[in-house]
């Protein structure tokens, strides 16, 4: 056995750097999350290198918990995580099965176990992503079937650690209560990643990237309008970070299309730029601007 391990070669072979770079490029902000993922990737790579040297250690537990407000990129990061784990050889297939309570818990006695097992079977070789995992446990109803699903999950998380990785996701405070009442679950989660909210500037960057991907662009005035929109929207209830921004952009595209349609009806010649550029008016028409800081449902 050679005493030298070429970490560089391992790194190259696993191709994990490209995923990490993609993560850096495509995800705006989220610095603590990215740092943590880099740490996990490094740890897994080193574990692999140690194995080649014959330094035996228990296989690392990889179950994770992602906490953060809605729209902070938990699902997106889970997809990337699956890819990283796949490239490092810790999951065999690298697919993600995203589920919620409804997919795991049945409606009557004897329904839950087959349902949970079916999902687990589908997730084998990949990542099982349980969104809003705390709904599995309903303390107010002691006969709730969620407990059964949790028990099956725990068993598989413990016994088939090489076959699948479970990622739980949800709001931080409710996740805490969930772990408080399910200590077995908490002790099997090796990594806790907290997703911070985005700053307004980051949200603007995200918006621009979303538009770029769909081959739209903002006029300079529209950019200012969007900035104002984000600041106003932040103060309103039900703000879901990047998801709210995406919805706002979808509505702006709708108005943009309608505007072009009307212009065409009036017999105006439209240029390629008209189709590409989202104008100030498309954004200013949002109801967020009418409400002037008073709380209410945004449009």
């Amino acid at each position: 056995m050679s005493e030298n391990v070429d970490l560089q070669a391992l790194l190259q072979e696993s191709n994990v750097t490209s995923v990490l770079e993609q993560l850096d490029r495509e995800l705006i902000g989220l610095t603590p999350v990215k740092r943590r993922i880099r740490e996990i990737a490094a740890f897994l790579l080193v574990t692999k290198a140690r194995q080649q040297l014959g330094l035996e250690a228990d296989p690392p537990s990889l179950h994770m918990c992602f906490t953060g407000n809605p729209g902070t990129g938990k699902t997106t990061v889970a997809m990337r995580m699956a890819e990283i784990l796949h490239r490092l050889g810790y999951v065999r297939k690298g697919h993600v099965i995203a589920v919620t309570r409804d997919d795991l818990v049945g409606q009557y006695i004897g329904h839950t176990a087959p349902k949970t097992k079916e999902i687990l079977k589908k997730a084998m070789g990949g990542v099982l992503f349980i969104d809003e995992a705390y709904y599995l446990y309903r303390p107010e109803n002691e006969r709730d079937y969620g407990q059964e699903a949790i028990e099956i999950l725990l068993q598989v998380m413990e016994n088939q650690r090489d076959d699948l990785v479970v990622i739980l996701a949800g709001y931080a405070d409710r996740m805490k209560t969930f772990f408080g009442s399910n200590p077995g679950m908490a002790s099997r989660i090796a990594h806790n990643l907290d997703f911070p909210d985005y700053a307004p500037q980051e949200l603007l960057q995200i918006a621009e990237m979303m538009l770029e991907r769909q081959h739209y662009q903002l006029s300079p005035d529209a950019k200012v309008a969007l900035q104002e929109y984000i600041e106003k929207r932040l103060k309103q209830p039900n703000f879901a970070n990047a998801r709210s921004i995406r919805n706002a952009l979808d509505r702006a595209r709708l108005r943009h299309a309608n505007r072009l349609f009307e212009q065409a009806e009036q017999g105006q010649q439209l240029t390629a730029d008209d189709f590409r550029e989202i104008g100030e008016a498309d954004l200013r028409a949002s109801r967020v601007f009418d409400q002037d800081d008073e709380a209410g449902a945004p449009s």
Binding site: K93, E118, L120, K121, K122, M124, G125, G126, Q160, L164
Partner: protein, 144 residues
């Protein structure tokens, strides 16, 4: 035994080989999954060659990606029916195929008595033949 020198029932693929190990079974399952087949587990204690419909152990497993999921179910079935015949079958849903394309036994009882051949003389010198499992006299569940 002249007709069955290895003293085992030979049905489906690999049945003349020694029992497959779990790794070998996994490899077969993965081969099928990669081709898009849906695996299912079936069991019986009446392995008569004409008994084509065995009992299903759970539903056929669609949309799986990795062999571990199927093997989990096989092991479940082995635990529930340690003395039964258990087979794995792969269903190919490709239009125009739509049938079982792989099938092999993954669990069998320790002792396999096989079948008796019964001859019945009818209409002069004509013969009618029947095969009958030695175990089939006993009621279901008590055969092996």
């Amino acid at each position: 035994m002249m007709n069955n020198p290895i003293g085992r029932i030979t049905q489906g693929q690999f049945s003349f080989l020694p029992d497959l190990t779990d790794e070998e079974i996994s490899a077969q399952i993965q081969y099928g999954l990669d081709k898009g087949y849906a695996w299912s587990v079936e069991y019986t204690d009446d392995p008569h060659p004409r008994n084509t419909y065995w009992d299903m152990f759970g539903h056929p497993m669609f949309d799986l990606r990795d062999a571990a999921g199927v093997l989990l179910e096989v092991n479940n079935c082995r635990k529930t029916f340690p003395q039964h015949y258990i087979r794995l079958m792969a269903f190919d849903s490709t239009r125009g195929v739509e049938s079982i394309v792989m099938s092999f036994i993954v669990n069998r009882p320790a002792d396999e008595p096989g079948f008796s051949l019964q001859r019945q003389e009818v209409n002069g010198r004509s013969m009618r033949y029947t095969t009958r499992g030695y175990g089939a006299d006993k009621p279901e569940g008590g055969r092996y």
